[in-house]
C-alpha cells in the first residue's frame, strides 16, 4: 500500500515540475531581469545590476510607453461597445428560429480562425486604400475613400473595429449561455404582472445577467491589454506609434532594441495591472456565486 501513498505525488511530479520550470521560474527570472541592464547577447551573469533604473526610465522618461498605455486605454473604450453589441447579438441569437445554430456558428467563426489570417484579410483585402473592398464600396457610393490603416487618426479605430468584429461572436455566446440559464418562469411571472418586453429585459434579464456581464467585462479588458497579433501584422505599431500596444512595444524593446531589462520591467508593470483586474474578477465571481457547472 506504500505504493499508493506515493502515487499521487509521482503522478503529479512531472506536471508540477513543468509548471515550475515554464511558469514559476520564468516569472521569477523575469522579475530578476527587470533589475538588470541586459542586451541578451552576453551571459546573464555578465549583465549589470541597475536596481529600479528600468522602471524609472520607463515610467518617467519613456514617451512611447505612455503612448502605448494611452492606446490601450483607447482599446479599452471598445469594451462597453463590445458588451453592448454582444448582449444585443445574444438576444438575437436566442430567438427560436430554424437554423439558428448556423448563425451562431457564423459569428463564432472568426474567433477560431487564426488571428494572422483575419488581420491580413482585413489589412490587405478590406482596408487597403486602393485595392481594398471598403474604399471600393465608398467610391461606388460616391463617398471619399479613407486612408484607414495609413493615417494615425484612423489606424487605431480601424484595428479596433476588426478586433470587435472578431470577438463579438464569442462574447455573444457567453451571454447566450447566461441568457439560457434564466428560467422561463421568471418571464412568465413578469408577463402575468403585465410587463412589456422592455420591462422584462430591464427587470429580469439584466439583473440576472449581472455576474456574466461583470465577468465578461473583466475578461475583455484583460484581453484588450494583451493585444499583439493585430497591430504586429497590420501596422507594426502604426503610423507614428498610433497603434502601439504594450506587448508589441515589449517585443520591440526585447528583440529589436536589445534592452531585455526594460522589456521585462514593462512586462511586470502590465502584469501588475492584469493581476489587480484578475483579483477583482475572482471577487466578483465569489460574490455572485456563479460557477456554472
Amino acid at each position: 500500500m506504500s505504493q499508493d501513498k506515493l502515487t499521487p505525488y509521482i503522478l503529479l511530479l512531472p506536471i508540477v515540475a513543468h509548471i515550475v520550470v515554464f511558469w514559476l521560474y520564468p516569472f521569477a527570472l523575469n522579475v530578476y531581469i527587470s533589475f538588470l541592464y541586459w542586451t541578451g547577447l552576453e551571459p546573464l551573469y555578465k549583465a549589470k545590476f541597475v536596481y529600479l533604473e528600468n522602471y524609472r526610465s520607463l515610467l518617467l522618461e519613456d514617451e512611447r510607453f505612455w503612448t502605448a498605455l494611452r492606446n490601450m486605454a483607447y482599446y479599452a473604450l471598445g469594451v462597453p461597445v463590445i458588451i453592448g453589441l454582444g448582449l444585443g447579438l445574444a438576444l438575437l441569437l436566442n430567438q427560436r428560429v430554424r437554423g439558428i445554430t448556423f448563425f451562431r456558428m457564423s459569428t463564432f467563426a472568426p474567433y477560431i480562425t487564426a488571428g494572422v489570417a483575419l488581420a491580413l484579410i482585413w489589412q490587405a483585402g478590406l482596408y487597403h486604400p486602393f485595392y481594398g473592398l471598403f474604399n471600393e464600396v465608398l467610391r461606388r457610393l460616391g463617398l471619399p475613400p479613407q486612408p484607414w490603416l495609413r493615417s494615425p487618426s484612423q489606424a487605431l479605430p480601424a484595428i479596433l473595429i476588426h478586433i470587435v468584429w472578431k470577438h463579438l461572436g464569442y462574447i455573444a455566446l457567453l451571454f447566450l449561455a447566461g441568457l439560457q440559464q434564466i428560467p422561463q418562469d421568471y418571464y412568465d411571472a413578469a408577463s402575468v404582472d403585465g410587463a412589456s418586453a422592455w420591462d422584462k429585459f430591464r427587470y429580469v434579464t439584466l439583473p440576472l445577467l449581472r455576474p456574466v456581464i461583470l465577468l465578461v467585462l473583466i475578461l475583455v479588458t484583460i484581453g484588450a491589454l494583451q493585444i499583439f497579433t493585430e497591430p504586429y501584422v497590420m501596422t507594426m505599431g502604426g503610423p507614428a506609434d498610433s497603434t502601439l500596444t504594450l506587448v508589441l512595444y515589449m517585443y520591440f524593446m526585447a528583440f529589436m532594441y536589445m534592452n531585455m531589462g526594460k522589456a521585462a520591467a514593462m512586462v511586470n508593470i502590465l502584469f501588475a495591472i492584469i493581476f489587480a483586474l484578475t483579483i477583482l474578477e475572482i471577487k466578483v465571481l465569489r460574490r455572485s456565486g456563479a460557477y456554472w457547472g
Partner: protein, 273 residues
C-alpha cells in the same frame, strides 16, 4: 408575430453577411490574377478560376511544410495536454493527499499569469537547451495547460466515487483504476479540451514567431505573416489570399463539427476559454 419573425430573419441575415463577407472576399480574391487585382474599379467576382495563385503558393513558399508543421505541433500538443490534464485532474479531484488544495491553488494561480510574462525567460531557456527551430520549442512550454487541468478536475468531480471504489475492491492498483475505469469515461471532456487546445495551438502566433526562425519550420500563421509581408508587392496579393483560404479551412471545419462541444466547454468551466 409574423412581422417580428421577419425582423429577426432580416437582422440575422445582416449578421451573417457581416460575418461571412471577409471570408468570401478572401476566397474570391484568391482566384484573381494580378491584373484583375490591380485594376480599378475592383470587380467583386473573378473572371475565372485562376488557380495559379494556389500553385504558386505551394511551389514557391513552403506551404505544405507549414501545414505539416502546424498539424504535427497542434496534434502533439493536444495529445500531451489531454494526457497531462487528465492525469493531474484525476489526482487533484479523486485522490486524497497532503497539499492537494495548495497544489490546486497553484494551478489556478498559474492561470492568472498571462503568457507574455514568461516570454523572455522561456525564450532564453529554450535557446539554451538548443531547442530553437524545433517542434519541441513550441510543444514543450504548452504541454501542461492550467486551463486543461482545471477543466478535467471539474469533470472528474462529477464521476461518482462508488465506481472507483468498486474497482479498487476488485484489486486494481491506482494506475489501473485510472486507465481502465476513468479514461473511458472522459471522452466528452476530451473532445472539448482537445478541440479547444488544437485550435489554440494552430492559431498561436507570438511564441512560434519567437522560436521558429527558419522558413521550413514555420507554422501556418507564421507563413501567412511572411506572405503578408511579401504582399506589400501586389503581385503576391492573390497568393496571400490563397494562403489565407487554405490556412483557415482546418480550424473552421473543426469548429463547425465540434461547435456544440465547444459551447458546452465554455459553460462548464465558468465561461473561460
Amino acid at each position: 408575430m409574423r412581422g417580428f419573425k421577419l425582423l429577426v430573419y432580416a437582422l440575422l441575415a445582416i449578421v451573417a453577411l457581416a460575418y461571412w463577407f471577409p471570408y468570401a472576399w478572401m476566397v474570391l480574391s484568391s482566384f484573381k490574377t494580378t491584373e484583375e487585382i490591380l485594376t480599378l474599379p475592383i470587380r467583386i467576382l473573378p473572371r475565372s478560376l485562376y488557380v495559379y495563385n494556389y500553385v504558386f503558393l505551394v511551389t514557391e513558399f513552403p506551404f505544405l511544410n507549414a501545414y505539416i508543421n502546424s498539424l504535427v505541433i497542434a496534434s502533439l500538443t493536444t495529445i500531451l495536454v489531454i494526457f497531462t490534464s487528465t492525469l493531474a485532474g484525476y489526482v487533484l479531484a479523486k485522490l486524497e493527499f497532503k497539499g492537494r488544495d495548495v497544489l490546486f491553488m497553484l494551478v489556478l494561480a498559474m492561470q492568472m499569469i498571462p503568457f507574455f510574462v514568461t516570454i523572455i525567460p522561456n525564450y532564453k531557456l529554450i535557446a539554451s537547451l538548443g531547442l530553437l527551430n524545433t517542434y519541441w520549442a513550441v510543444i514543450i512550454p504548452s504541454m501542461v495547460s492550467p486551463f486543461g487541468i482545471f477543466l478535467m478536475r471539474q469533470f472528474m468531480l462529477t464521476i461518482p466515487d462508488d465506481l472507483l471504489d468498486a474497482a479498487r475492491v476488485d484489486g486494481c492498483t491506482e494506475l489501473e483504476v485510472l486507465f481502465r475505469v476513468v479514461f473511458p469515461l472522459c471522452k466528452p471532456a476530451w473532445i472539448v479540451l482537445g478541440v479547444t487546445t488544437f485550435i489554440a495551438s494552430w492559431n498561436d502566433f507570438l511564441w512560434p514567431l519567437l522560436v521558429l526562425r527558419k522558413k521550413e519550420m514555420y507554422t501556418v500563421p507564421l507563413l501567412l505573416n511572411l506572405l503578408g509581408v511579401a504582399a506589400g508587392d501586389p503581385r503576391y496579393y492573390g497568393v496571400l489570399m490563397a494562403g489565407n483560404t487554405l490556412g483557415t479551412i482546418p480550424t473552421l471545419i473543426i469548429g463547425a463539427l465540434a461547435f456544440r462541444r465547444i459551447v458546452e466547454g465554455m459553460r462548464f468551466t465558468g465561461l473561460k476559454m
